[in-house]
């Protein structure tokens, strides 16, 4: 069994790795590259916890071979924030308490980012259908959808970033 | 004496009585007193019980005081999820 040499770009960085032919992209990210933000919740593409984008297309990294990444551009949760500056979705997830345990959160954020890149002004129903492949067992999705819609509004410039948001919401 | 309510299926161990009287000033004395007076209760006491004292549930706290007029109800051990 010989390993395959793959050259790819992950979160903007040129990356090379060796993998077994049967390794999934998720195996490679987690076990070979130390990018453990993507999670394996099912291994069958039914939970979305391993979501990443490949050439800007949202996919389950558990359903793609590592070898297929050759020459592709991959984005994971680890590349979502710009240094210390969180992506608006990340910030809104914290502010809206859109996570409880947090295991589904990386996958949902990657999927939600992909949604807003494809559709900056989704309806609630569009957001719910886009995210239907991301299971969350803690929240009942309510606060997740609110956070996504709020982030979308902010990214469209409809609502100024309100530093007193948490105070306002507490009243 | 403290009056202790016994749940239905446990009454086989208390000669059919729905309540029994035990001399006890706290939870430990109550549990010891029950085992002493009604040896047939011992298997359940070993499996675990919860004791409701005046409407609040206690599992382990031996020295929780019980007044003579306290309402005391024996329950199977309750656990959460």
């Amino acid at each position: 069994m010989s390993q395959i040499h793959v050259t790819t770009k992950i979160n903007g960085d040129e990356t090379e790795f060796l993998c077994e032919p049967e390794d999934t992209l998720l195996d490679v990210l987690r076990d070979r590259l130390g990018l453990t933000g993507a999670k394996e919740g099912c291994g069958t593409g039914d939970c979305g916890a391993c979501s990443v984008t490949v050439d800007d297309r949202l996919v389950c990294s558990c359903l793609m071979l590592g070898a297929e990444a050759e020459g592709r551009e991959i984005a994971t949760i680890e590349g979502m924030a710009d240094g210390e500056v969180l992506h608006p979705l990340q910030r809104k997830f914290i502010e809206h308490a859109a996570l409880q345990c947090g295991i589904c959160t990386p996958g949902i954020l990657v999927a939600a980012k992909s949604l807003l890149e494809n559709n900056p002004d989704p309806s609630e129903e569009e957001a719910r259908y886009w995210l239907a492949g991301n299971l969350c067992r803690c929240t009942g999705y309510d606060k997740i959808i609110r956070a996504v819609m709020d982030a979308a509004a902010e990214m469209r410039g409809e609502i100024a970033n309100d530093p007193d948001d948490s105070l306002r919401r507490a009243s | 004496m403290v009056e202790v309510a016994i749940w239905g299926s446990l009454r086989v161990a208390t000669e059919g009585r729905a309540t029994v009287e035990i001399e006890a000033g706290n939870l430990r004395e109550l549990l010891d007193g029950l085992a002493e007076a009604y040896p047939d209760l011992r298997p359940q006491l070993r499996r675990g019980v919860t004791v409701a004292i005046d409407g609040r549930n206690f599992n382990d706290h031996w020295f929780e005081p019980i007044r003579p007029d306290s309402e005391v109800v024996l329950l199977p051990r309750i656990v959460g999820g």
Binding site: T36, G37, K39, E40, G41, T44, C47, I77, M80, Q90, R91, F93, I94, A97, Q100, C101, G102, I103, C104, T105, P106, E125, A127, R128, Y129, L131, A132, L135, C136, R137, C138, T139, G140, Y141, D142, K143, R146, S166, R169 | W7, G8, S9, L10, V12, A18, A52, D54, G55, R56, F58, N59, D60, V73, L74, L75, P76, I78, V79, G80, G81
Partner: protein, 750 residues
Amino acid sequence: MALDKQAETAKRQFKVVGTRPNRPDGIDKVTGRARFGADAVAPGMLTGRVLRSPHAHARIVKIDASRAAALSGVKAVVTRADFPEPPAHVADVLDNCMAGAKALYDGHAVAAVAAVSPAVARRALKLIEVEYEVLAHVTDVDEAMQPGAPVLHEGRTDETVPEGFSGNVISRCEFGHGDIEAGLAKADRVVERSFRTAATHQGYIEPHACLAQMGPDGQADLWCCTQGHYMVRNTCAAILGMEVGQLRVTASEIGGGFGGKTTVFLEPVALMLSKKAGRPVKMVMSREEVLRASGPTASTSIDVRIGMTKDGRITAGDAVLRYQGGAYPGSPVGMGSMSAFAPYDLENVRTVGFDVVSNRPKQAAYRAPGAPMAAFAVESVIDELAKSLGLDPLDVRIRNAAVEGTKSSYGPTYPAIGAKATFEAAKAHPHWSAPLGENQGRGVACGFWFNFGGDTCVTLNVNLDGTVSVSEGNPDIGGSRASMSMMAAEELGIPYEQVRTIIADTGSLGQNEVTDGSRVTFAVGLATIEAARQAIRVMCARAAKIWGIDEDAVVWEDGAAKPAGPNAGQFPPMSLAEIAAVASNTGGPIAGHCEVNAEGAGVSFATHIVDTEVDPETGAVKILRYTVIQDAGKAVHPDYVEGQFQGGAVQGIGWALNEEYIYGEDGRLQNPGFLDYRVPVASDLPMIDTVILEIPNPGHPYGVRGVGETSIVPPLAAVANAVSAAAGVRLTDLPMSPPKVQAAIQAARG
């Protein structure tokens, strides 16, 4: 601990408690940095894998692992023969982790390997030869109870079970008071119905995972995702014959539990593999393993009889509950029986419960264990009675509501409770009177849960710069670190941002009960408050020393020590930071700690309203609107209280509509994956509206009640009542999957 002494006025003005600050672990969790169970690594780590029984019930005649052990890269093979004879209290737990004489369910672990890679481990499993003698099996609760059913264990039936049942009936319990038949005789209408609920799984997205390392000196470290690392330590130590102090367990971040991570599955096996291999061993379950071989909840069969007068007074309530809890004793039927009629003030009430074993995985707790199924049956019959008598279902519930002083259906007399308040709030909610369209129906139901306390330790350290570090021993499963920081900040009078709470390992604090029973905000919160008060006493003493006045003459207000009144002398207040800065000069570091068995938690109630639309041609059910009304005692962080309400409601919706364990004729699980074990997805649901009521728990200084579990109790019945209203026919069999709903409609309409 006498909690009453701490009870304070509900009128207290809070500064931090009740606000919605960001959680301290938020950034870790939105950036992918948070480390969950499967994210652990150790140098030289091996991969552990489990071989599982393909049979529902089989005697294990022989296991030959020699070929696996000889495979290059295999470093250890473990079977039951490697474990010492366990103490009685963990015997079933060990047998569930690694089968002994018999495999008792499809997926039961029979052997395990540790190897240098997952691929080698997989190959090794295939080389283990197990000779089975396949036995007849039973997975249905009613069939398991019949005389003549295949019996899993001989001699486990206890003294409470009457003659005439199979050996699978382990125990019987009975609760209640009054005279059922006399009560029913006074009723204008009696409804009697039978109900069934399928087993469901907690469905946490993170599979079980652990990393174990055990040295030849007997010292061991374990990293795992669990609801209680102290439980893991105590259980594993007992199973492996270790001293508790030699095993240190660190809880990783936990990706959901809902009760399912309150026991051990992989951990003792990983430790044994590591012991034999002399290297760290990591084990992670696949989703299939989680569903086949962790701890789903019980499936049930329940009969209910309730009598009601024309004006809506319940004259008697009677229920027989049968719960199969998998292959070992311990189904939550006792709690189901106690909770079934708990929201009501009844003169005549009786519940009889049977704990039954069958060839399924050993059940684990699932959010308010036992209660949702019982509430489904009872609340369905109350709904049917109310409607058949032309009464408003909420009026009926208000009419019969348990209140302070009511003798509960399970025995104790209630202190101040919120049952009636949730009914009245539901009645007043605009949702209750909103119009409905064609094929739509509205349902309402109530739920009850006990809530727990238990052993709890908290240490609070005041740092030299005036910040505060809180260490607690309960894994944070939904924002509890934020709540603890808030309660510490509230008590100390400092900003929330100056407090950081961490989850300590088992070597750092004393015993902590698991994160279960909705106990954390209540019990850990109580201990946090007490630890803060202890630190305040120390800080007041230091200020008194500095000022040269009596300790009793110093009070703590707004985060500072102050002289208590003019007679104590004129000194400017000393803030926490000022006292902390000179701690070394005034006696040493300042800390407070609390070790307590925090018993006396307050019960809680919830009422849910739901609108559904049923497609009469296909039986498809759509949830249109959902409102949760629940008593929280005091909502420390309202976002996370709402989150518990919403999450519980949606798990209940899944249980009501589509989630079920499906067993084939062969006794094997047919749907061990998220494809066919159908948990609700985002597009299945509307927003879940919440109403938080605050009826303070007298047993907690801030009035906190547990909120995590009650929210899953009403939805099964609420959705069933709504679907029944929309379909025009009573649904009594969960889940109400489309084929069942369509068949019921077709049967009713002819």
